[in-house]
Symmetry: C2
Subunit: 138 residues, 2 copies
DNA sequence: AAAATATAATTGCATTATACAACTATTTTT
DNA sequence: AAAAATAGTTGTATAATGCAATTATATTTT
């Protein structure tokens, strides 16, 4: 019976990913590309995160995470802090410039979402928000 | 008030895309990669679709669509049919092999989604399906 | 304490997906 | 008939990614 719902979800998720990827790749809204946005957001909201933790968080190889962070560092969006207890490790802190960039990107994205959902009822938005969170959790 | 919902949606969409991309990139579930899956699905469910239409459908450059279809053709998943009325154009038909591959991939994906949503209520699934469709429409 | 192993991160290399620009072969418009 | 438009391909470049090898440092084992 809700086998049907699952099938819809399966397909619509693929479509969703394709469309969002398309939008955020082309334009790279607010300058920050897809991946960088989440990396920076995570740095901004968590303490003492290193390359490894980021890779795990996003299901990426450490090498990818390493390069992403090197890029953010180069742009001046994050500072690398050596771990005083472990000479191999380092973690990142977002800079003021990084905060600004994150805020700008967030705003641009929010605007886009807002426009897209302008005809949705308040209830639908709440539901969608809640279900997305539930889907992403764990 | 539901500014909050929009903010959640904005962030959770980014997270969702990242996680799904990660899953479907690594494993390429059921052999078909992310993009190929939707291309093949579209061919399977629409008549006389050419490269241009596919590119438009997915918000991609025609060159990208062209290469994707060339790859599917090479794998034997689609047949290229010359348009008898327009010597420039061609369209695609899914082959039996393509149908099989599509079905396998769909099954693998569905299984994944089913597992992920095994604790969801029937109502939540219905809602999520409906909201995703609404989000993707137009 | 020395040797072996494990870990955090980086770098080399290959692949995939993508866009843009130039091009070819047609078709349509003027 | 010439010019413009269109469908598609191909060359080139870039971004994101994974895997494998490597480096430097920590931890564990002997």
């Amino acid at each position: 019976m809700d086998e049907k719902a699952l099938e819809i979800i399966e397909l619509e998720l693929a479509v969703l990913v394709r469309h969002i990827t398309s939008i955020t790749t082309e334009k790279s809204i607010g300058k920050l590309e897809r991946s960088a946005y989440l990396f920076l957001h995570h740095i901004a909201t968590h303490d003492a995160v290193g390359v490894k933790a980021l890779a795990e968080e996003f299901g990426l190889d450490v090498s990818t995470a390493s390069r992403q962070m090197a890029a953010l560092e180069k742009k001046g969006y994050v500072l690398r802090m050596s771990d005083p207890l472990d000479g191999r490790a380092s973690s990142f802190e977002i800079t003021d410039l990084g905060k600004q960039e994150l805020a700008d990107t967030k705003e641009a994205r929010l605007e886009r979402v807002t426009k897209k959902l302008r005809n949705w009822s308040s209830e639908e938005r709440q539901q969608f928000a809640q279900l997305l969170q539930k889907f992403n959790s764990k």
